[in-house]
Amino acid sequence: MTLSGSSALRLGLLVFAAVILQISGFGQLRLLGGNADLVPLLVAAVALYAGAISGALAGFSAGLLLDLAIGSDLGASSLVLTAVGYGAGRWCEVRRPSNSLAPIPAAAAVTAAWGIAFAAVSIMLEIDAEVSPLVLRDILVTTLLNALIALPAFSIVRRFLRPVLVVDPIEVRRRRRAPRERGPIGLRGLEV
């Protein structure tokens, strides 16, 4: 994705919608003792489709908006989400995942990384209280729920970003697919 007015607007709208939905409603939808988290999901999707720079920008802006909206320590969420978005973007740039189920491990990895890194930053900054091991369960449940909703969530992000993507990775994948011609026993290149 090249940085232009249109792409910035689309990215900004996505970030704004994800953060508002998360703090106003999704955060309270408790399932299996935890809740899904749209913010890392969005960062992972942007990183997967638009690369490391866009992933880092989405992470920074989502973190900043989250910190401003909920009144937590300003900069903490931005720091973690920037790193997570950049890391996810780089992984996608280097690996170029071609499987249509790639959003699931991408969402799970980004959510788990966000949960663990944010816990570490929070502990380093100013947590005086005792920390229960159940925090890990919370991270695990959020990771699981995010993995479950990854496919539809990534699909929405892709549709929204598609007009501003320089290259749509799904299209690249389709073009990379091998021809469907096969021989009589199902093996390519063995036509009789």
């Binding site: 994705m1 937590s72 931005s78 920037t82 209280a129």
Partner: protein, 305 residues
């Protein structure tokens, strides 16, 4: 995707990442370095004020989905909870029988009179009802934002109470107001890692501080209770409202906090570890009440609800 590997792309990518990380670090440093009246805190309050109407609208639109998910969660929990409640009921029936005998004999009449006092608010308080519009999505910051602010009479450090999980059950302390804007206020819940509430065990009178354990919102710890003090499962914990040498608790005396569920003596510790289950349902709050001194609204020209 322009995933090129030429030097210019690599440099631009690294510079962008470096600038964003540096900006985040500057924000963290600035935020911790300034007081509550600093520039960044003021910007944060302004953003909360500006976002409040959108959050309020989104919250209302998503309420049916929240309720639906809550219903599913309740059904899943109901089976295990039913067994637990049956055991709890048996235990309470035994305790009730004991309490009635004690009341008849006049042994604990004094405590029982006191018990009726915290079925409502402490004396001399009135309530401002508010709706929760924003909730922190992480366990590290247990804060909520409510739709009432300074123009409704809400002030910093006012206590906030919420209903219990069971509609017939007692509600209790949820937290205190930590910042206000004209139309919203931020409430730090008692499960926030920065929270500490001066508390008293009822009817014994032992004093301690209620602290959270991050990640366990349904299990608080009552700290600084010396070993040897008899704390029993089922004892009620209320705010102590201490006043000593110019120091004063933010919470008036008598707001119910929770019930003692377990006492760990802790062999190497100086104090006992008393576990409390909060009365207020802190994970699913839609409506809360901010408590303020009675008559404060008339003096300020705003009414309580």
């Amino acid at each position: 995707m322009s995933f090129g590997y030429d030097k210019q792309v690599i440099r631009r990518r690294r510079i962008t990442f470096g600038v964003l990380v540096a900006l985040s670090l500057v924000l963290i440093t600035g935020y911790f370095g300034e007081g509550p009246g600093g520039v960044l805190h003021t910007i944060q309050r302004g953003a909360q004020e500006a976002l409040a109407p959108i959050e309020k609208g989104a919250g209302k639109a998503l309420k049916p989905f929240r309720d639906l998910a809550g219903w599913f969660g309740d059904v899943m929990d109901a089976k295990s909870e039913n067994e637990e409640l049956r055991r709890e009921n048996e235990r309470l029936q035994k305790e009730l029988a004991r309490a009635l005998i004690a009341a008849r004999d006049g042994e604990q009449a004094r405590s029982l009179i006191g018990l009726t006092e915290f079925s409502g608010y402490p004396d001399g308080m009135e309530a401002i009802t508010a709706r929760v519009i924003v909730r922190s999505p992480t366990v590290w910051y247990s804060t909520v934002q409510i739709d009432k602010g300074s123009s409704d009479g809400v002030e910093v450090n006012m206590p906030v109470v919420a209903a219990g999980a069971d509609p017939q059950g007692t509600g209790g302390l949820a937290g205190r107001v930590v910042s206000v804007t004209p139309s919203t206020a931020r409430v730090m819940l008692i499960t926030d890692s920065d929270s500490g509430v001066g508390a008293e065990v009822f009817p014994g009178g032992e004093n301690g501080v209620v602290r959270p354990e991050v990640g366990k919102p349904s299990d608080l710890l009552l700290d600084f209770i010396e070993k040897g003090r008899r704390i029993r499962k089922g004892n009620t914990v209320i705010t102590s409202g201490f006043r000593s040498r110019g120091l004063e608790s933010h919470f008036p005396r008598g707001i119910p906090i929770g019930v003692v569920t377990r006492v760990d003596p802790g062999e190497l510790d100086l104090y006992q570890r008393v576990h409390i289950r909060p009365f207020a349902d802190l994970r699913r709050m839609d409506v809360v009440q901010v408590l303020r001194p009675a008559g404060a609204g008339q003096r300020a020209g705003v009414g309580a609800e």
